[in-house]
Symmetry: C2
Subunit: 164 residues, 2 copies
DNA sequence: TCGCACATGAAAAACTTTTTCATCTAGGAG
DNA sequence: CTCCTAGATGAAAAAGTTTTTCATGTGCGA
């Protein structure tokens, strides 16, 4: 069978790394998600798909995929180490603070701003990082402020409310 | 002696929290630093200034100070939970990827971009987060790619301002 | 098909962050 | 100024996260 059979196979090969079923599974999980996922969530999702995978491999794989730009790392105010699918090329994220949905956009038009800051500070600016937070259409009227909705499981166990 | 004697005292009071020597010490350490500091670095710096403080308190204090906007949380590609002094009001960071120096700027002019992305995605955008990375003047020609230079020890302490 | 460099994963180590709870203290009341 | 107490502290332990180890497995070029 050709590598076509494995979604993402071409891109993994192109990245110079081996195409393993674990990598394909992790990539599939991220690409199949509308939001950002944490390590434990990816682990659970892959296993739910009845594929064996270890936590260590999830960590390593997410790093590999991100370095190949096949997925992107997302930072939230609290808790980073989260990942979302990557659009083409340079991209930034718009994140729904209620359900976690992630939309990538690439037109950032920061040229003038960067030039201005560079002139003023005497820095050579090499990279930038922009994230927008808000409410997606479906979450517009949600009065809550909770993070992920059902379908976007929380990573691990939450600190939870005060003890009795 | 009046509360004037304690740098940041006024601002802590204004925030509705008690002015403790630990809070003043942490604030002084952050304000005395040109870069971003992690929890352990703050702990070490405060102790070096011969002030007693516990790790738990450092965590809690950094959170309190950040919520009062007296200091700001900085996210790096790897490793967040770092803090830098805050400029006035809304601010973004320009970070030297070699020495860690942090410069805050507030003119982000993202209005048009935000409008455009909002229209296109149907999101209501409530907040944004922008960080610029580059080389400060002094690190311009540094061929290295290491993070903090001497003076910005990873786990060590900054020579920073000792207690008055 | 073979061989081996690369990849995996269970377990343990290492590290980070939060919770507990006994003790302390900032600062307002009197 | 002295008292009082809600708020703050910190040592220790618990809880959670990430990395390291190393024996075993496997992708893929020869
Ligand atoms: Mn951009
Ligand atoms: Mn972050
Ligand atoms: Zn949403
Ligand atoms: Zn620098």
């Amino acid at each position: 069978m050709t590598s076509e059979a494995v979604p993402g196979g071409e891109r993994l090969r192109a990245g110079g790394v081996r195409l393993t079923r674990q990598r394909a599974a992790v990539l599939a999980v991220i690409e199949g998600s509308q939001g950002h996922l944490g390590v434990r969530e990816v682990l659970a999702a892959v296993r739910k798909g009845r594929r064996r995978i270890g936590l260590t491999t999830v960590y390593r794989t997410l790093e590999v995929l991100a370095s190949l730009n096949l997925i992107r790392k997302v930072h939230l105010r609290d808790g980073c180490q989260r990942y979302a699918r990557a659009g083409a090329g340079h991209g930034h994220h718009l994140i729904c603070s209620r359900c976690g949905r992630v939309v990538e956009f690439s037109d950032c038009r920061l040229g003038a701003l960067i030039q201005s800051v560079a002139d003023r500070t005497q820095f050579t600016i090499e990279d930038h990082w922009l994230e927008l937070f808000g409410r997606c259409k479906g979450c517009r009227n949600g009065r809550g402020r909770m993070r992920r909705r059902s379908g976007f499981r929380e990573t691990g166990t939450r600190p939870g409310p005060a003890a009795p």
